[in-house]
Amino acid sequence: MTAAAEEPHRAAPKSSFFNDPVIRGRIYQGLVLGAVALAIALVAHNTAQNLARQNKTTGFDFFFSTSGFDIFFTLIPYSRTSYYWEAFLVGLLNTLLVSVLGIILATIIGFVIGIARLSRNWIISTLATIYVETLRNIPLLLILFFWYFAVLKAMPSVRESFVLFDSVAINNRGINIPKPIFDGSFHWVVIAFFVALAAVIALRKWSIRRMEATGQRFPLLSTALAILVFIPGVVWLASGINVDLDIPHLAGFNFRGGISLPPEFVALLVGISLYTAAFIAETVRAGILAVNRGQTEAAQSLGLKESDRLRLVIIPQAMRVIIPPMTNQYLNLLKNSSLAAAIGYPELVSVFMGTTLNQTGRAVEVVFITMLVYLTFSLLTSILMNWYNKRVALVER
């Protein structure tokens, strides 16, 4: 009976080397690697041959030749005598501009709609549900077309513009808004604002330390607001500067003065914000619902008041659920801003992959650089996300 147990440990029975999972894994990987390398070599060979046949040169030297095309909406000085790298920069900055503004708007709208959808009020939650279910199931491109061709391009001509409050003019060439003009000593107000900000941060640290030591609370929010308004306000009055508003006015065939926002920009900003807001609303709703009801009850049983309960217990836990998908939505918004190519807003894809590619014919280089830009944003975001996730991750025993 014990014979089997006492039998000395025998060497593994001889079997085909192919049945060894380690060797087999190596063989599979070798095959896959070979296939991928072969495919890449084939593609590279074909591309080189095709380019040679079409007598096309390669390289990134085109960046330093004159572009020769105009861009109607730029954040930096640009003209048709500028270089291609300047055109690239204009496109990149326009992408960033619309993305940053879109992220701010979409976050605000999304939070409002998401909280409205959780409201006990039947009318409010139904309206929010209709908004989300409609916008989520329609292509973004269609929404952009709607705002651009059906709304903004259908506005009256310049002479019959809608004028709101004598200062904002809306017509089929875009929206003109007043532009504040600051005189020489305005920087003192900016400096005062930062001084006030530093004071508030110091105050917050002090109040937290005092509460931990004595348990006394300090009305931080109202004091902070007062400081932030008071210090710059006093400096403003004392320095006696005045801020003029450059109000758009009709001169000749168009509006002069103020800031002129082209319809392409407005359509993209409005469309992309409303669309992304529907997704952010769902993220926010899911995050708030994910906080266990027991947490609310625990906070109540500790005797925390309503505002403290939200600030110290519910929101921090909801944010842990909300923020990762929210960053994904922000990244989606950045990528979706490339749809502007369809309505003619000069962002990266439209300027670089469109006009520049057509003029220079350097398809491989241009596609490579454009993808690299988006890849960089994506990688930066995921690095940031990993860092954040580590910070807020649940510490489990």
């Binding site: 894994g25 074909n46 095709n50 199931n137 329609i138 709607f146 590619l357 454009t370 993808m371 944003f377």
Partner: protein, 374 residues
Amino acid sequence: MANASFVRTEMIQPMPPPPSTVGLTGWVRKNLFATPGDALLTVLGIAFILWAGPPLYNFLIGNAVFVAEDGAACRVENAGACWAFIWDKMNFFIYGFYPAEEQWRVNICFLLGALLIVPLLWPAAPYKAINAILFFLVYPVIVLVLLRGGMFDLTYVPTEKWGGLTVTLIIGLVGIVCSLPIGILLALGRRSKLPIIRALSIAFIELWRAVPLITVLFMASVMLPLFAPQGVSVDKLLRALIGVTLFEAAYLAEAVRGGLQALPKGQYEAADSLGLNYPKAMGLIILPQALKLTIPGIVNSFISLFKDTSLVSIVGIFDLLNTVQASSSDLRWGSPHQAVTGYLFAAAVFWIFCFGMSRYSIFMERRLDTGHKR
């Protein structure tokens, strides 16, 4: 002496609840006027509905033009949506430039597709395996042969002539059918223990997920001809299909990976201890559970794929949105609301498909829920 004590032998009827908590009054109190703030929101909401509702109704139905010969009826003062324009252009919206005398071929494809997909999606219908083979393998071949022609006495119709809803559905269907297997393979690759396969899968997935679809489509239309060997030309529609499929496969891979990670380790170990090899363990034990968990994610990807098919209009393919966009400058129907009407129609079509998919996924999720929630 009579018994003085009294014991009730039957239950007393419960008192009715206070009238203010039941029925219509109760509902209104609870859902509309619970607190003063709530009441204010209700008033604002009703005001919004009263402000937006009547003009919307007048535009869509009240003053809308349903029957007209041309745009003249839609050009009158206060006219609403010009539905007659949609009706007149319907043929273009569905078939694009497909020759009129050959459109029966498209109709057969639609009919066949409907006949195959309804029993596939209806859980009680029998012969699922045969049905799936017919739909996923045989049907695409039939569609290709029928639409393209050039054999069996069918006239050749180049893909440039395909258009409208037909092309939108083709791209959506091919994208969904082809990207799911690739996505599953990529997800398995990313979870693999073999370092080279894992690295390649991660690189592929992250690269496609990082870039916008429009750059992928641009790349497909500009670079695929360069990649192909000399003398081989890649069809424009095929280029878009390849771009959409690879792009969506990366997103599906991430959705499936979520399901794979959500499975407890015991399932993998159980499969190993049964002595199943890798394909069997995955096919019989892991994937059925993982895919069930990922239904919402997969359907979300399908919905975004279907919406993204509209982007092919940017590389010059006449899908539904592009036909609508092209018709909105038709002078015969020129009227102030021509473009809006077209967009509303396209939005309604997309909405019906996407909303249908999301409702079906919720239905399937409930049906497949075996109650083994951890």
